[in-house]
Symmetry: C2
Subunit: 667 residues, 2 copies
């Protein structure tokens, strides 16, 4: 049975378009079109089996939450749900096998991403406890500390919090005020919040559930400061009461994530054993001396912060999933909802048959696919780079990973916030009703732009990474100082195509031979536009900063006057990486129909992206007027081509219908 | 005391910028900088005194709501607050003096806009009862009906609902299914919901409070259909119980506006007296015959719908206010919050000293001012046009008003949704805490993009208005039919500058003499760019639609293929109107300092707007590459110039500090 001779499915079809196949493929608890199943398999990437298994589990457990719940009901629901995850044995994802984990870092990310298909409060609670709290112990702790604590993290017997952010300092971790002072006499560490602004805040799990917290602060040993370190501090007793010297507050009502109990922590000279300091990269030995395998303090700091990379990859993935979920709801609605009559049509027109509606949803779906492939590559790279012990890791690869993780987190969460809102509006009044699943998603995903690194700050980190060309660089620790130091070592742009990109090389080499083409649908043209843009923005940025930065007194002004340029450099770099991943993903797709549709989506992604910068391209003589003019008509054309496949595109994005939690789609 | 010799206010100053005046002007319950007070007076427009009075009242009554309230608490709070508004005698705003009103249409809009400074649920509840329910009676009712019902609307003795939207039909009012059938025998009207999809939904005030509803439906008299009419239907008895045949539902949890009890209404053969039909434009006489002063049914329909114009103006104003409130919170926060150290600076740098942060907030503040002037003009026009009885109104002016109201509603609410999110993110984690005032604002304003007309549909109405050149046009009633009919009468673009724009004429005539200037800060260049863009987009649109529309069978496809172009035409038109209002507002500003700062803001508004379309301008040979390239640097420069005035800019936007409801600013 081919697509063309399949019977029309009246409920979801454009009245005059090629109908989608009515054939169905059983996939877990779902029933998909053959094209939908093939697209999903491609977009799911390396861990497609784990993802499929997780979907089945989430449907079985019914892990979607009623958005009408009060904050306390939501917290209770989430508490029960996370225990369920632990009881199912999913808590060991990402931990070393030596302490009961599955030994596969990537699986913890896949876990996190998958749960975000169901409920984001649960996702964040899982991320806080297993990922941040457990992850900090696993990354920063010694083998003894791992053996002591990780098993009870995995079983959730020891619910934990990750206490980094303070009232006075969010993005500037280096400036945290909390002190961790070694007291030689008692052989203890004294954890203290010296000021009001040193209060830890927005700490997930702190308000109600955490028994222990990883607390970041300034370590002082024998009067000497050693910079930021992390220490384990018990915060509640077995009965749930705050321990002496620990003042716990509740952040109360938030803009979303009602199921997560964010709170504040203040420490008044709280004493813990010396061995509670997570000491892999720096600790106090039995003689009371500070010891560390990393001599340079800045480098030590960055090494410790490097452990944040997984959290950012998780949030990037969850943001993208939230966007896909919103797109799934809005597109399915647009396939069923009709509005206004039209001459020559019996019924009112389906929303998705309007060009304006297509333009809202289809390019976003294309971006969603692009981000899925890029996220898949990121997870693969994480697994590859960090599966080795720290000392044996490829430093350049680690740095590239950090850059990409920071950038992907910023780009994916921006995408999520923007597109969820578009989807809400695209569903009209129904979109505003909580029972239809969009408003709560919007609320929950909102803060993804902020936590695990503010998006603006993260994009600056990306730019810094680009300017160093991944040479090791441990400069000043303030943001502009860092970037300035980077410029000093900058030796010109080399657009390094990510490893294993034979597909790109092949496309580009073929392109040489037909460079006179004027089509905007030429893949090689897309790639070269993305590359040229990045190269040009980065080169001119370095030049501007070098010129401006000569006067040391005006270092801040120099940095500041180029800040928008800096952010542009970061964004164009990530865009190029995303396009490369998409192209490679298509190349790896074995299903012919799926590969063809992915190709159309890739064209749409590239053109939508270029359309936004077409003013810039023309100003820099990188795009002719005629080609620039041809972009929007081509986008419209691609939307029309993709319209008949809408349902399959939705299915391929991988959010099971059972997890959409949208009453209007069930009616 | 001049600005320059004023002592530095350490708490809010850029460390190296010209400080703002420490002098303060008492303004109601506020204390403002002289510049802030002057800016506010300018932006407040014609009704500045009423606005000032309303601010004082709102502060006195403490009408801000705790965002942590449950839905039922929020509803109770709102119910009490609206009664307070009525008790203060504010319920008569906009109603004719003959029935106890103040006879000033504009004052009802100013009321609505002002209340939105405090709480949006209260605003919407006020809008539903006084504006929509009361307004429908006042506009569509006979003198007798006004006398009978309006006094108890004003006192809130008769809480009302406005039942237009149905489950099956939102934007397409013409297609409503509810029937209003005249029964000759009993001399009654039978109101009925024939299907599930005829259920009225999202009806404000319906779930708990309304005693009566204005119900829209298809009127049938003696077997003949007369199209959409509105009838008054009692829905609850004095004890609050649903009346026989009226099925009331509760829409439950929404994406915001927790204080508004939206619900559903179904009617099962509900009988009301014949005189309950709002009969100004069409009713049933004593002999049982249908009578109407407007013969053409379509024209009658549009006349009835024309009464929606005030609601749209209200929502436009409230959306803009919500955006200003968010900007006030985020900018004040950025003036106090510090992040990262910088060489040569003692403290960490204030957020607002970062270029990237300035770029997030200052162009938006410029847009907020632009919209304030445009909204002021719109309210003045409403007052001017609609203060006359319908029969004596200038039809062209009425049509222009409808077009502008639709467009401003779309543009202002788009601005609100976008900028509130930017502000939330610009405040980091603090922005996500409900107590800081941004997340609830975001939730509440969200639906403004949808109600009183979906923004996409409204922009299409704008385009239709433009294509008819305001000739009277009563074409087909489906959306594309309307537009197609419009094209048939289209005779070429005439950019008519809005009435009373001597300021613009003056600028443009001076400009002729120095047209060789290459500055992007030339006001005449801004105006001509806005005008050229509108003209070009509209002309080419008409041409495309005429060509495409020749084949009647493909009418829908023809319309559809140009839909994005249509929306662009609408947006560019509204943008030009907004710029004109801004320029005229500056011209009318008597305070020299304020006029100068407004000029800078106007430049920033214009350039930010042009920046977004600079690809388009280059493609159409309307902007040179060098000028296009100069725009972003100029935006950066303008941000730097405005930075020292940030506090005054905020004060000028007119949201009293006491109404911000933001804990982080009180700390």
């Amino acid at each position: 049975m081919t697509h063309t001779d399949a019977a029309t499915s009246q409920e979801t079809q454009n009245d005059n378009s090629t109908p989608e196949s009515t054939q169905r493929v059983a996939t877990g608890h779902e029933s998909l079109t053959p094209l939908g199943a093939a697209l999903r398999s491609a977009a799911d990437g390396t861990y497609r089996d784990v993802r499929a298994e997780m979907r089945t589990m989430l449907i079985d457990e019914g892990l979607t939450r009623d958005p009408a719940m009060s904050v306390s009901e939501a917290r209770e629901w989430t508490r029960t749900a996370i225990q369920g995850i632990a009881d199912k044995g999913r808590g060991g994802a990402g931990f070393p096998t030596s302490v009961g984990g599955d030994g596969l870092l990537a699986s913890s990310v896949v876990n996190f991403e998958s749960i975000s298909l169901a409920d984001l409060s649960l996702t964040v609670k899982v991320g806080v406890h297993f990922g941040l709290f457990g992850g900090a112990i696993a990354s920063l702790g010694t083998d003894e500390q791992l053996a002591q604590f990780v098993p009870s993290v995995i079983s959730l017997e020891l619910p934990g919090a990750y206490a980094m952010t303070e009232v006075g300092h969010g993005s500037n971790v280096q400036a945290l005020e909390t002190t961790i002072t070694y007291d030689r006499e008692s052989d203890e560490l004294v954890v203290h919040s010296p000021t009001e602004s040193a209060t830890k805040t927005y700490i997930g799990n702190a308000a109600e559930d955490a028994r222990m917290a990883v607390v970041y602060g300034q370590l002082e040993v024998a009067g000497e400061s050693h910079g930021i370190h992390a220490v384990l501090v018990p915060v509640r007793d077995d009965a749930g009461a705050a321990l002496p010297g620990v003042l716990i507050g509740d952040n109360g009502a938030k803009g979303g994530l009602d199921g997560v109990d964010n709170g504040t922590l203040r420490f008044e000279q709280v004493r813990v054993r010396r061995t509670m300091l997570l000491s892999r990269y720096g600790g106090v030995d039995e003689s009371g001396a500070y010891v560390s395998p990393i001599e340079n303090q800045n480098r030590r700091f960055f090494t410790m912060l490097g452990t944040l990379v997984r959290g950012r990859i998780c949030v990037s993935g969850a943001g993208a999933q939230a966007g896909r979920k919103a797109l799934s709801i809005a597109t399915r609605y647009a396939l069923q909802r009709r509005q206004f009559e039209a001459p020559g049509r019996e019924d009112e027109v389906r929303l998705l048959d309007y060009l304006a509606h297509q333009r809202k949803l289809l390019p976003a779906i294309a971006t969603a696919y692009a981000l899925a492939f890029a996220q898949g590559d990121l997870v693969d790279t994480l697994q590859e780079v960090q599966s080795k012990p720290v000392g044996e890791r490829d430093q350049k690869a680690q740095r590239e990973l950090e850059t990409r993780a920071a950038g992907m987190k910023a780009v994916s969460t921006r995408f999520a916030n923007d597109i969820i809102q578009v989807c809400r509006e695209a569903c009209g009044g129904a979109g505003y009703m909580a029972e239809n699943g969009l408003t709560e998603l919007r609320r929950d995903a909102d803060v993804f732009a902020t936590f695990e690194g503010d998006n603006t700050v993260l994009l600056q980190l990306v730019a810094k990474g680009l300017l160093t060309n991944y040479k090791e660089m441990w400069g000043d620790l303030d943001m502009f100082g860092m970037v300035q130091a980077a410029v000093r070592t900058f030796t010109g742009t080399v657009i390094e195509r990510a490893a294993a990109r034979p597909a790109i090389e092949r496309i580009m080499s073929t392109a040489q031979r037909r460079s006179d083409s004027d089509s905007v649908l030429d893949r090689s043209w897309h790639i070269s536009m993305f590359e040229e843009r990045e190269r040009h923005v980065l080169d001119s940025l370095a030049q501007r900063m070098r010129t401006a930065g000569k006067d040391e007194d005006k270092a801040f002004e120099a940095f500041n006057s180029t800040q928008d340029h800096l952010l542009l450099a970061a964004r164009t770099h990530i865009d190029r990486m995303v396009l490369e991943s998409f192209v490679a993903g298509i190349d790896a797709c074995e299903d012919e129909d799926a590969a063809q549709v992915l190709g159309t989506l890739c064209d749409l992604y590239a053109l939508e992206n270029l359309a936004g910068d077409r003013g810039w391209f023309q100003e820099h003589n990188l795009m002719s007027t005629s080609r620039a003019k041809a972009i929007v008509p081509a986008i419209n054309q691609l939307c029309q081509e993709l319209r008949p496949h809408a349902l399959s595109l939705v299915e391929g994005m991988g959010v099971p219908e059972q997890l959409l939690g949208s009453a209007m789609l069930e009616g």
